[in-house]
Symmetry: C2
Subunit: 183 residues, 2 copies
């Protein structure tokens, strides 16, 4: 069995997991989640999760970016896998840091490519389009789903501007208040 | 020594490295690079790299996002480590997919927090402010440095709008042309 020790490698400034036998450094880095707010006639597509965490709750089609994908390709793949939807991407709607769990989330605004067809994939129990007043707010899976839906509400179908970032009044997802870096 | 085999785990749809003895799945995901276009009086800060790759070439202060950091915290840390600079972040200037090497790059526009002080860190040979016409274009380290500098040139000190993304005419950094996902 491999054995790792936490130490600061030469030229580094923080603890890493270093293999006792070969010196391999097992870096642990944040992961990227990509997804989309997929809009059709003023309604937005949500997927009811068939898997943990938050099984049974509603979420945007999103998931981990894979090696070899661009952000746009990853978002399109997730919409296909989770919602059986083929999408066209408008642009970046929001970017969130969920540093508590080592995630960066990039959410695009998207529309259907061609006719609005969709169906639950393996990871979804149900997929539906919701008008703003129909969104199951108390059954949303994650804070960032709330944030992205509100970011979409702000911009609507208008030109995309600077992407939304973590709401400063909602500290869920981050460990600590943003502070200046001490030199 | 651990032994891994490439196979598709249950409920997954692509090959992963799975440990032969314990079933641990070693996911390999893209990494996030965060950095800034740090502007002072119309000039931009560049660092001359003291490390490989591209030692001796000029780059923006940027590096891998660490666990527990927000994007903004990561960009501020990199500016401190590489350029001895304390920064305030304006907002997101650009976001690039370098899928060929499994990177997502998030570049902020930033200014100095307080007086414009800077000095080379361990990973930099030199740090300087350059006016647009002084930028050492033929000695820039990476294509994305070119892209981010041009994104800054576009927006200047004006309001940030939708972030720049990979220039469609420059396919460096991605393996393949963006295509729709086959369903």
């Amino acid at each position: 069995m491999p054995s790792f020790t936490q130490l600061v490698p030469d030229g580094d400034n923080r603890l890493r997991e270093v293999c006792d036998s070969c010196g391999f450094i097992a870096y642990s880095n944040p992961k990227v989640v990509v997804g989309s707010v997929l809009v059709e006639g003023g309604r937005v597509l949500l997927c009811r999760r068939a898997i943990e965490p938050r099984r049974g709750f509603w979420t945007l089609p999103a998931g981990f970016l894979e090696h070899g994908e661009t952000l746009e390709e990853g978002a399109a793949r997730e919409a296909a896998e989770e919602a059986g939807a083929r999408i066209e991407i408008d642009g970046i709607l929001a970017m969130y840091s969920i540093s508590r769990i080592g995630q960066v989330q990039v959410m695009f605004r998207a529309r259907f490519s061609g006719s609005p067809q969709f169906a639950p994939g393996d990871e979804s129990l149900d997929v539906r389009l919701f008008g703003w007043d129909e969104i199951p707010w108390s059954e949303l899976a994650f804070p960032s789903v709330h944030w992205a839906l509100h970011a979409w509400r702000e911009v609507g179908e208008g030109p995309l501007s600077a992407p939304a970032t973590n709401p400063p009044t909602d500290r869920r997802g981050v460990n600590r208040i943003l502070t200046e870096v001490a030199l």
